[in-house]
């Protein structure tokens, strides 16, 4: 006999589109961000195909510019930023704090609709001719010169920003006001801490990008003069306002992934995290210091050298809390009872790739070196190591880890391991050569390049093909597992946490009454004692 759960409690399109259940809204997001991931991936594919040969033979320069712009806009604003918070965070945070839902279920649904409307604007901009400004919309090019539908795309970004603001607001209020009795701050899963820090960035940063792109749209459409150099306006002011959000936005992408990795590492080493409070507070430190480093994007754009020195110093400082996390995960794995299930493979991948991405970030934070590699493929490789090697590895790891909880079904673990390895190797083959190409001086954002870079670019395109197959395999087996996967028990991993104590899939209300929590998550019996208990 099947019990009532959130998936079978109500059928039909209306029961999904009007749902206020955080778990169903998470699935709405899962479907929509997957769609945008495929669209963004399509643009990336065209970019990589163009770069297979040195001559600009597949796409014209203008089309190529539109392809990398749309790739950036779609992947950053419509996939990476909502990915872990809106899917896994939405699903898990109420359960992890022992609540029946987020504090504002209707606002939660509203934020999905806002996301969809913003997405439609962006798709309209893409289909009606595209935008060629780069995802950064730099002025005065975007306001005075660029062809294409800058206003439509800017409004898409503006609108979807409110979706992220409302998600952050919902998480903050939920963590403050909805925690179950006994669930003190220091018993919270680290996943919740990292989402709390992420939400702070969402509510403090996103409004600034919203007003900034609105000003670009007003300058382009209504001929107001805010950044127009002809009036004595300052295009670098745009860059300051843009990066005031867009650098912290990198932490919106990586912090939730760090939360996922903290959970996975504990579950698959059967150990409580090494230095819980350091890992928890390092999330807040990243959120706070992350707001003070934006100037490292503007070293060569006419910023005062003294401001540059301060931003350079602070960019080194923000590496400290990130390093704390890496060291503490490593210390957690040390002498743990490590199992190599697919989520843990993603966690291993994350730790390695994030470390490379983070350390090359320090190269770029050093002003002298940044002048050498600025606007080269070195930068492209660096941020893809953070965003793809970090954020997407974390997202996929989390999706695998909680998939049995979300769907109540198991996925084929063999295929999962295989695709995790494909993604890891494909990723490195794609982006490591770009470090070399960039260091040798290959500039980014050109559709043609000197022939001596061809070997590196062919390797990169080959890696991207492997990566693409690696991403398609989980799509297939996740879809398969939803219909034909084996049923999962409440706790298929033997992990400890509130989400693993309730049924899989969870009932609509999660808990009958507020649970009275007696200890923190992942408090495992020492492996040597586990045998005796069983």
């Amino acid at each position: 006999m099947e019990t009532v759960n959130y998936l079978n409690n109500g059928h039909g399109l209306k029961s999904w589109l009007l749902t206020k259940d955080h778990k169903r809204i998470a699935l709405l997001y899962l479907v929509s961000i997957t769609l945008f991931f495929v669209i963004g991936g399509f643009f990336a594919m065209l970019v990589r195909l163009e770069l297979l040969t040195p001559a600009g033979d597949l796409l014209t320069a203008e089309t190529y510019n539109k392809m990398f712009t749309m790739h950036g806009v779609v992947m950053v604003f419509f996939f990476l930023i909502p990915s872990i918070p809106a899917v896994l965070g939405n699903f898990l945070i109420p359960i992890m704090v022992g609540a029946k839902d987020l504090a504002f279920p209707r606002i939660n649904l509203l934020s999905w609709y806002i996301y969809v409307v913003g997405g439609i604007f962006t798709l309209v901009a893409a289909l009606s001719g595209g935008v060629d400004t780069g995802w950064t919309f730099y002025t005065p090019y975007s306001t005075a010169a660029a062809n294409g539908h800058v206003i439509t795309a800017a409004l898409g970004v503006f609108i979807t920003g409110f979706s992220s603001i409302l998600t952050g607001l919902n998480f903050i209020v939920t963590v403050h006001r909805m925690r179950a009795p006994g669930l003190t701050w220091f018993r919270l899963p680290l996943f919740v801490w990292s989402h709390y820090a992420t939400s702070l960035i969402m509510i403090l940063g996103t409004p600034v990008i919203a007003i900034t792109v609105l000003l670009v749209a007003a300058e382009r459409g209504l001929h107001l003069g805010i950044f127009d150099p002809a009036l004595g306006g300052d295009p670098v002011l745009f860059q300051h306002l843009f990066w005031f959000y867009s650098h912290p936005a990198v932490y919106i992408m990586i912090l939730p992934a760090m939360g996922v990795i903290s959970e996975i590492v504990q579950a698959f080493t059967r150990k409580n995290i090494f230095g819980y409070s350091f890992v928890a507070f390092s999330s807040l430190a990243i959120a706070i210091i992350g707001f003070l480093v934006w100037g490292h994007h503007i070293f060569v754009a006419g910023q005062s050298v003294y401001a540059g020195m301060v931003f350079s110093f602070l960019s080194f400082v923000v590496a400290i809390p990130s390093a704390i996390k890496v060291f503490n995960w490593t210390a957690t794995i040390y002498k743990g009872s490590v199992s190599f299930d697919s989520p843990m493979l993603y966690a291993f991948g994350f730790i390695g790739l994030f470390t490379i991405g983070g350390l090359t970030g320090l190269f770029l934070a050093a002003m002298g070196l940044d002048i050498h590699v600025h606007d080269t493929y070195f930068v492209v490789a660096h941020f893809h190591y953070i965003m793809v090697g970090g954020a997407i590895m974390g997202y996929l790891g989390g999706l695998h880890y909680w998939w049995p909880k979300i769907t109540g079904r198991l996925y084929p673990e063999g295929w999962a391991k295989f695709s995790a390895l494909m993604i890891f190797s494909g990723f490195n083959l794609t982006f490591f050569p770009q470090f070399i190409a960039g260091y040798l001086g290959m500039p980014r954002r050109y559709h043609a390049y000197p022939p001596e870079f061809q070997v590196l670019n062919v390797a990169s395109t080959l890696g991207a093909s492997i990566l693409a197959v690696g991403y398609v395999i989980p799509l297939v087996y996740f879809a398969y597992s939803m219909v034909a996967g084996e049923k999962s028990v409440n706790d298929p991993w033997g992990a400890r946490g509130l989400e693993w104590e309730i049924p899989s899939p969870p009932p609509t209300e999660n808990f009958t009454v507020s649970p009275v929590v007696t200890e923190g998550t992942h408090q495992y019996v020492h492996p040597s004692q586990e045998v005796g208990l069983a």
């Binding site: 209020v173 909805m178 209504l222 199992s339 104590e501 019996v525």
Partner: protein, 250 residues
């Protein structure tokens, strides 16, 4: 036995004590409706939790609003620093009297708003509650009326940035930037006023339907928080845009 259903790669449950003291919370269940306040939403434990959550939510939202306006204030700061004389010259063409009238209108509307919240808190009759809300709305509409007069005046004097902008003073470029900021800042503020009037309409209808009393007045209270916030933004806009014209010397 759960292990029997298990894929060979999934380790399955290990024997650990549960994290919760009340096991009934985590058993499979049908949700039972317990008797409670009619306004209590299903996912809150009690009214105190619900009210706390709503109020905190509005405060957090206002923080995002500060950052939203903050971008504009930052731009204002940068450009006024770059051209203090140009900004003073441009500001001189704003009508201080209309600005002052609007400032008083908004401060009084904050008073009527506070009285609307108070009337709900002490379970005043719906007529009284609606009267204060209506008074607030009338003042808000008066503010927008004055704003419309000022905007019309700027249109007729070619002070709207763009191809038709015309400036006879010494700093035409700074003046155009000043008026770009003027229209962005006051326009965004006026948009917030319009949204505020919409919110007040809903709150007024709810008050008329006897929804608010000493036990339940959260919607009036958080609508009031929003209204006061929009007023405070104007308190900053008025001196920064209108009063710096006093520095202007021929």
């Amino acid at each position: 036995m759960p292990d029997a259903h298990h894929g060979e790669h999934f380790p399955g449950p290990i024997h650990q004590p549960p994290l919760v003291a009340n096991l009934e919370a985590i058993q499979p269940h049908e949700f039972v409706h317990l008797p409670h306040h009619p306004k209590l939403q299903h996912h809150f434990d009690d009214m105190a939790q619900q009210i706390d959550a709503s109020t905190l939510g509005m405060w957090v939202f206002l923080v995002t609003e500060i950052m939203f306006f903050g971008g504009l204030f930052a731009a204002y700061l940068v450009y006024r620093h770059a051209s203090p004389e140009g900004f003073a010259e441009a500001s001189h063409h704003l009508n201080v009297t209309w600005g002052a009238v609007n400032t008083i209108v908004l401060i009084v509307s904050s008073l009527t708003m506070a009285l609307a919240v108070r009337s709900a808190q002490i379970s005043a009759p719906p007529k009284t509650q609606v009267a204060w809300i209506a008074a607030t709305m009338v003042l808000g509409a008066a503010f927008l009326g004055v704003k419309a007069i000022e905007y019309t005046d700027k249109f007729t004097h070619h002070l709207v940035p763009g191809p038709n902008f015309h400036w006879t003073g010494k700093h035409p470029q700074a003046a155009e930037i000043f008026y770009s900021l003027y229209f962005c800042m006051t326009g965004l503020h006026a948009t917030h006023m319009v949204i505020g009037l919409g919110i007040m309409t809903v709150i007024g209808i709810m008050a008329w339907r006897r929804q608010f009393d000493a036990d339940y007045y959260t919607p009036v209270e958080i609508a009031g928080l929003y209204w006061h916030f929009v007023d405070i933004v104007w308190i900053f806009l008025f001196p920064l845009l209108y009063l710096i014209g006093g520095h202007f010397t021929e």
